[in-house]
């Protein structure tokens, strides 16, 4: 469904990704783990066109999408829940969700989509007219995911959804991700919390200073001594 071929991205003179290749198969949850500064966010930004790779290709359902503007990539069916959520703090929860469905012109469908999000995250329904900036961190994460779902993405990219959240909230978020995946959305999950990510995914890639250094099924990687030492703290 998604394939990166030898993608290299830099910020000015600083090289953030070098020759990154991996793929995500339809229906799975794949994860990209790595420590802070490894280039995980840059990978997602390169997929969405928010960062421009200077070499390599990004293919979505066989179609080359690098060099396309971000809003067109979004329209193809990829949604990104950015690191730090990036909810529109000065807009209401409802307006945030409506913006997620910006490309949906059919107002009946929009209503249905909203209902779907409320089922997944009932907390949001209680706070519809509240400014998004006044939500707790966990609620903002729910809103960011709900907003992404409003666009009916076939591929959902999540950038550190567990960041800064209490364990119970993280649990709830990951349960919701599992439901979203069961309902047919392919997921690429980026995490620093490798333990959690490997338990919740089928395939995994390890990113170190801009390069993919290990790959395999999540169970394999969770048993790999190098992964254990570097990322699982064992």
């Amino acid at each position: 469904m998604l394939e990166l071929k030898n993608v290299s991205t830099r910020y000015g003179a600083i090289s953030a990704l070098t020759d990154v290749s991996f793929s995500v198969a339809k229906g799975e949850i794949a994860t990209l783990i790595g420590s802070n500064g490894a280039g995980k966010s840059t990978t997602l930004r390169s997929i969405m066109g928010l960062a421009q790779p200077h070499a390599g290709e990004v293919l979505f359902e066989g179609k080359k999408i690098n060099r396309m503007p971000t809003h067109r990539i979004a329209a193809l069916g990829i949604a990104l829940v950015p690191e730090g959520r990036a909810v529109f703090a000065n807009l209401t929860v409802l307006e945030n969700l409506e913006l997620g469905g910006y490309l949906q012109k059919d107002s009946k469908q929009l209503k249905k989509d909203l209902e779907h999000v409320y089922v997944l995250f009932p907390r949001l329904k209680e706070r519809l007219l509240q400014m998004a900036g006044t939500l707790s961190g966990g609620e903002q994460q729910m809103l960011a995911i709900g907003r992404a779902l409003m666009a009916h993405p076939r591929l959902l990219l999540l950038d550190e959804p567990s960041l800064g959240l209490a364990p119970l909230v993280v649990q709830a978020i990951f349960d919701a991700i599992a439901v979203i995946n069961k309902e047919g959305t392919t997921v690429l999950l980026v995490e620093q919390n490798a333990n959690l990510a490997l338990r919740r995914s089928q395939n995994a890639y390890v990113l170190e200073t801009g390069r993919i250094t290990m790959r395999g099924t999540s169970t394999e990687l969770a048993r790999d001594p190098r992964v254990k030492e570097a990322y699982l703290g064992e």
Partner: protein, 299 residues
């Protein structure tokens, strides 16, 4: 008391013009974090477009009011196009450039418009045709002109319309999203380049309306008329909190009232100084402006 009321009305009337122009500064700043110093010149172009359009249209429609409305609408449309072209040619290619580069480009665009206007329109002032014959209206002890009333209501109506657009439409929502977080807006599938162009168009149209409304009251127009008004409207935007729509309206009204009160009760010599006193005071005491929050942005 009556003279105070009279001053109040004059102040609100002047303030609503500043507010119209300030809105353009604040909206563009909202989406691009750019102070578009050429914005005052769009106001001037609005007046000039109005001048030439008046000569074509005056007397061709059934009423004076309709004459004025058609002139204003077409001039707003013309300036909206100028705004779009300006964004496309001058600002879009340097979107990622440093703030200093943007600032220098904005000043360059401003000078380009001012001096090419002197060449095209002539440097001498022109007399804006009287689209609506003046009649005086006595209300109690107050003397108002029909023109003042029209100006005031048109300005207020435009602000209400803008507000409805920004807070009640899908595109307005997209504009608020762009202004809050450009990248996140793109992720929603919003074509942010279009929204930015639209922001320039709307801001420019409002400035054009300001230029025409002023010329209806004070008919002398010249190619540098946008410099002082532009600066004052900028001060109004900063006073209210740049980037904040309500702030621009509030700042405009405060500035208009302050100017009128100073020249009414003090000395008209200081009229133009008041804007700059206000600017210095905000920069010293509350750089984010009355309604502004968050960090102070250095231009």
């Amino acid at each position: 008391m009556e003279s105070f009321l009279q001053q109040l009305i004059n102040g609100i009337s002047l303030g609503s013009i500043y507010a119209l122009v300030a809105l353009g500064y604040t909206m563009v700043y909202g989406v691009l974090r750019l102070i578009n110093f050429a914005h005052g010149d769009i106001y001037m172009l609005g007046a000039y477009f109005g001048y030439y359009l008046s000569r074509l249209i005056q007397g061709r429609t059934p009423s004076h009011l309709l004459d004025a409305a058609v002139v204003m609408f077409l001039s707003m449309l013309g300036c909206a196009l100028v705004g779009i072209v300006m964004e496309r040619l001058a600002y879009r290619p340097v979107r990622r450039a440093s703030r200093l580069t943007l600032l220098i480009i904005a000043i360059g665009v401003s000078l380009l418009i001012e001096y090419s206007s002197q060449v095209i329109f002539g440097a001498d002032p022109k007399f804006f045709p009287q689209l609506i014959p003046e009649t005086q209206i006595h209300m109690g002890g107050l003397i108002l002109t029909n023109q003042q009333i029209i100006v005031l209501f048109t300005a207020l109506a435009l602000m209400v319309l803008l507000n409805l657009f920004i807070y009640r439409t899908r595109t307005g929502k997209a504009m608020r999203a762009v202004s809050f977080n450009l990248d996140a807006a793109k992720l929603m599938g919003i074509n942010t380049d279009q929204i930015i162009a639209l922001t320039f168009a709307l801001g420019s149209a409002l400035a054009a309306a300001g230029g025409i409304l002023v010329s209806i009251n004070i008919p002398g127009i010249d190619p540098l008329m946008g410099v002082m008004t532009g600066l004052k409207a900028f001060v109004a935007a900063v006073l209210g909190g740049i980037g904040n729509i309500f702030g621009a309206v509030l700042g405009g009204l405060i500035l208009g009232l302050a100017e009128v009160m100073v020249s009414g009760y003090g000395s008209s010599t200081y009229r133009d100084a008041i804007a700059f006193l206000i600017l210095i005071a905000i920069l010293l005491f509350k750089p984010s402006g009355i309604l502004g929050k968050g960090q102070v942005e250095k231009v």
